[in-house]
């Protein structure tokens, strides 16, 4: 698979198109909310699926969120999905497909089309009835192994990179504010991983807000990704001088490792002096090396 390209069409709707397996071109379309801000991406999938000597076409609409995470699918009226020998998907098959497509870590990721079935062909067995490999039985729908595999790879394949790069091109103050307002850790990680130094500076209040509300190791990772010159700026030091105690220990360590003694504000120094632990810790060592360097 390869990305053919992303272009902005005349009415400012970015279209990103890429080639899925078997040279199927898929065009991804961006959708906007009433304020004109990016909302979701979609694509109409029309792809041939071949199982042994039999081929048929799957048609279905796919949706991804702003950072390329699979969101949902819609079946197209009159073009329901089928299994082997054109048996229509049941409601339960559709539910299972939904679960499969929502599993970014599916075992299907590491299987090629050719590896899906056991190579147990004998003269009496053709490709269609080959047994699905036991390891992936839970990851597919019986009788629709290749369909599941093809659709999963479209949902989690090149579309993700294309969508992410399109979203990056659309970054604006309003969009960033909208994105961080959802307090979605995945989106926040995407933002701080994507931002250039200039963008960190441009969207600093939003970044600091995500750090304040971050869960798990987000604060630590965001601090680590923030350019040192921005982190040592008076604005950022002001923020951390106030919020240092609210950071978890490991985010504190990340911050202390990036602060530069010669750039330390008085407020930050005062905060750090108060934050010394009673017991021995690496944090204390870092603080000492920062504030004793007058």
């Amino acid at each position: 698979m390869m990305v053919i390209g992303t272009n902005l069409v005349s009415d400012d709707i970015p279209i990103t198109s890429f080639t899925a397996s078997d040279s199927v071109n898929i065009e991804v379309e961006a959708h906007y909310d009433s304020l004109g801000l990016l909302e979701i991406y979609s694509a109409r999938i029309s792809t041939p699926v071949c199982e042994g000597s039999k081929c048929y076409t799957i048609e279905i609409d796919f949706y991804w969120d702003c950072i390329g995470r699979f969101h949902h699918y819609d079946s197209i009226s009159g073009k329901g999905l089928t299994k082997l020998d054109h048996i229509p998907f049941t409601a339960s098959d559709y539910r299972k497909l939904d679960a499969i497509l929502h599993s970014p870590n599916s075992l299907l990721a590491s299987y090629s089309n050719e590896e899906l079935v056991k190579d147990t062909r004998s003269s009496a067995i053709d490709g269609i009835t080959c047994a699905t490999k036991n390891e992936i039985k839970e990851s597919v729908i019986g009788g629709a192994v290749y369909s599941c595999h093809t659709l999963w790879h479209i949902a989690h394949g090149q579309a993700v990179d294309s969508i992410q790069s399109t979203t990056q091109q659309l970054f604006s103050k309003d969009l960033i504010q909208k994105l961080v307002s959802g307090e979605d850790q995945g989106i926040n990680y995407f933002l701080v991983s994507s931002f250039s130094a200039h963008e960190f500076s441009l969207y600093l209040p939003e970044v600091l807000r995500t750090i304040e509300n971050g869960k798990g190791y987000y604060a630590k990772n965001a601090i680590e990704k923030m350019p040192a010159e921005i982190l040592n700026s008076s604005e950022v030091q002001g923020f951390f001088a106030t919020n240092f105690g609210k950071l978890d220990y490991f985010a504190q360590i990340a911050l202390l490792e990036k602060l530069k003694a010669e750039l330390l504000s008085i407020a930050m120094k005062d905060t750090l002096a108060e934050e010394m632990d009673e017991r021995d810790s690496y944090k204390n060592d870092l603080i000492k090396s920062l504030i004793s360097n007058d």
């Binding site: 798990g216 630590k220 220990y249 490991f250 017991r279 060592d285």
Partner: protein, 619 residues
């Protein structure tokens, strides 16, 4: 590297010879020179008094176990056999029958058929006409017949004692015991050679600590060894210490899967990693079951060789309990918890309203193999009543063949494991002989059934901090965080349907999961609150029952071992106890954790069975 404790097979003869009193000889079967197809089972030795030999033939009688017994005098001897009928709790028919041959002559009766409990059974009279006699255990069924010891006496009214205490005294008279500490050159004694203990030993050794590693099986790996066959689980190389886990990556098997062929578990890789460390002395086949305490510190741990019975003293300034069962802590008087704490105890939403004894169970996994011909399996009469509705028409039993939930995981280990064997055999015998669709199983041979049970939970030793569900879910990160636990809070319960079908004694389990962010386990959970020189790693650390649900995974245990080994090096360098590290030297441990102890240049192979987590885990 010194490899100790495996070249002792021939000592029995001289023991029997030297140790005999005037007219009686005690022969421990685990000391038999040639064990044939019999295996040593030590899992219940602290309860029933000794390791024993077991005929684990999975339905095919195993080859004779044979040894030479020396007598001081010729004459007429009465023979006693210490054995039991392991299926007595469920059936009138005995599964594990065997005979005793003395110089090839059958004593004339079958054993393993009478007593429900371990006891001495009179085996008849033999005429000893020469001073060296060959004695054999002859298995009749292949279904786990078991024999602990034989006692020959020429005294008229002599019979061996049935109590564990009495037996201990008898052994003291008839078998040799080391009286003085002989192994006192260690800085650090690690008891338990599972993933946690192995990593603890290697980590400490690489940092210049002289380590004794004591393991009560002939190989390393514990639940991840080819004896139990549970694959490693959870993640390594995580925030906030991405270098932790490099050692787990170094010694962990490269492919995953429960109940798979032996090679999957790469026993030799773990053993070789230990053998490569000049600072480790490895004591395989030694079971530590005595602790000598001075004040609030352990002075010696005493471990018994599983074959010779020789008891060896290990003295050191520092110990790590990586036994899983918290055996060393328990014997030293360390505070511990077991069962489930009530909801109000630690304010845990998942805890039951009232405390109880429920623990997660022990797995007896199994699998069959397709052959190119039909294969018979005995139509057993001693199995549980079975039918098509009860049958599991499958060819591999995974982790969820789990028994003993609600039983005493330490004092009822033998029963719990035996029930696991019973249901595997009951199901398989039914599939092969009576199942409606038995044709499907015609060519299948029962290839492997575990006889070493895979335990999940028993004692948890209490540290200066007890990790709880709320710490994990909030998450409430602590400055002394160490190895990150990343698996879900994964708690097992009896499968309700199975529980109903099998009248309250379930053998299938279900798991309930709560996903968490990777959470660094506080260092204060890795040392005992009241035994000053005792650390722990693995499933016996200071956590609640609910929190155990996540920390019990073996990659996490391995990382705890890495940390405990690092802590041992600081204890040695600073001449301090683990608590002092937390209070006064923690920055040193942090630096070691940031650096890691494993080979970071190796390819990352530990990407199977990582489990779900709430967030991106790698930097």
């Amino acid at each position: 590297m010194k490899l100790l404790g495996i070249s002792i097979l021939s000592l029995l003869i001289s023991h029997a010879g030297l140790g005999q009193s005037e007219s009686s000889v005690l022969v421990e079967t685990e000391s038999f020179k040639d064990k044939g197809g019999w295996v040593i089972d030590q899992q219940s030795m602290d309860v029933m008094g000794s390791p024993y030999l077991m005929a684990h033939g999975m339905g095919t009688p195993v080859a004779n176990a044979t040894t030479t017994v020396s007598f001081a005098k010729k004459g007429t001897y009465r023979v006693f056999v210490r054995t039991r009928n392991w299926t007595a709790p469920w059936s009138d028919e005995a599964a594990g029958k065997f005979q005793i041959l003395v110089d090839g002559e059958n004593l004339g009766q079958d054993f393993g058929i009478r007593s429900k409990d371990w006891s001495w059974v009179e085996g008849g009279i033999v005429e000893v006409t020469k001073l060296k006699v060959e004695v054999s255990l002859h298995d009749l069924t292949g279904f786990n017949g078991r024999c602990d010891a034989l006692y020959f006496t020429s005294k008229r009214n002599d019979s061996p004692p049935n109590t564990v205490k009495g037996l201990e005294q008898l052994r003291g008279v008839l078998l040799p015991v080391e009286k003085e500490p002989s192994e006192n050159s260690f800085d650090f004694v690690v008891i338990g050679g599972g993933m946690a203990g192995t990593c603890a030993a290697i980590s400490a050794a690489r940092l210049g600590v002289k380590v004794a590693l004591i393991q009560n099986r002939p190989l390393l790996g514990g639940n991840n060894s080819s004896e139990v066959r549970v694959h490693l689980g959870a993640r390594i190389n995580l925030e906030p210490y991405p270098a932790l886990g490099n050692l787990v990556n170094e010694i962990g098997p490269t492919q995953g899967g429960n109940a798979q062929p032996k090679d999957y578990y790469e026993d030799d890789k773990k053993l070789q990693a230990v053998l490569n460390e000049p600072n480790i002395s490895l004591f395989l086949n030694y079971h530590a079951n005595e602790v000598q305490v001075e004040g609030k510190r352990i002075a010696n741990v005493v471990a018994q060789n599983l074959e010779t019975g020789m008891r060896k003293f290990f003295s050191a300034p520092l110990f790590a309990d990586c036994t899983g069962d918290g055996t060393i802590g328990y014997l030293a008087g360390a505070e511990y918890m077991s069962g489930r704490e009530s909801r109000s105890t630690f304010n845990e939403p998942t805890a039951p309203e009232k405390e109880d004894n429920l623990t997660m169970g022990l797995s007896v996994q199994w699998f069959s193999q397709a052959m190119d011909r039909s294969v018979d399996f005995p139509d057993i009469g001693w199995g549980l009543p079975w039918n098509d509705e009860k049958a599991f028409a499958i060819k591999r039993g995974d982790w969820d063949w789990e028994t003993g939930m609600g039983k005493d995981m330490i004092n009822e280990t033998e029963f719990i494991r035996d029930y696991g064997l019973l249901v595997v055999y009951s199901n398989w015998s039914y599939l092969k002989n009576h199942y409606n669709n038995r044709q499907e199983f015609k060519n299948e041979a029962l290839k492997w059934v575990a006889y070493i049970g895979g335990k999940r939970e028993s004692r948890r030793l209490v540290g200066d901090y007890i990790l709880t569900e709320n710490d994990l879910t909030e998450p409430n990160l602590k400055p002394d965080g160490t190895a990150p636990t990343s698996w879900t809070i994964d708690l097992h319960y009896p499968d309700p349907e199975n529980l109903e079908k099998f009248e309250g004694e379930a053998f299938r389990s279900i798991a309930k999961h709560i996903t968490i962010y990777p959470y660094p386990i506080p260092f204060r959970c890795l040392y005992s609150k009241n035994i000053e020189n005792l650390m722990m790693a693995g499933r016996d650390i200071s956590v609640t029952h609910v929190a155990l649900g996540t920390v019990r995974l073996m990659r996490t245990g391995g990382m705890m071992g890495e940390v405990v080994g690092m802590a041992a090096s600081i204890c040695k360098a600073q001449q301090v106890q683990p608590r002092d590290i937390y209070l006064n030297h923690f920055s040193q441990l942090e630096r070691l954790m940031r650096k890691g102890i494993g080979d970071a240049s190796l390819p990352h192979t530990q990407d199977y069975n990582e489990g779900g987590t709430l967030m991106k885990t790698n930097k």
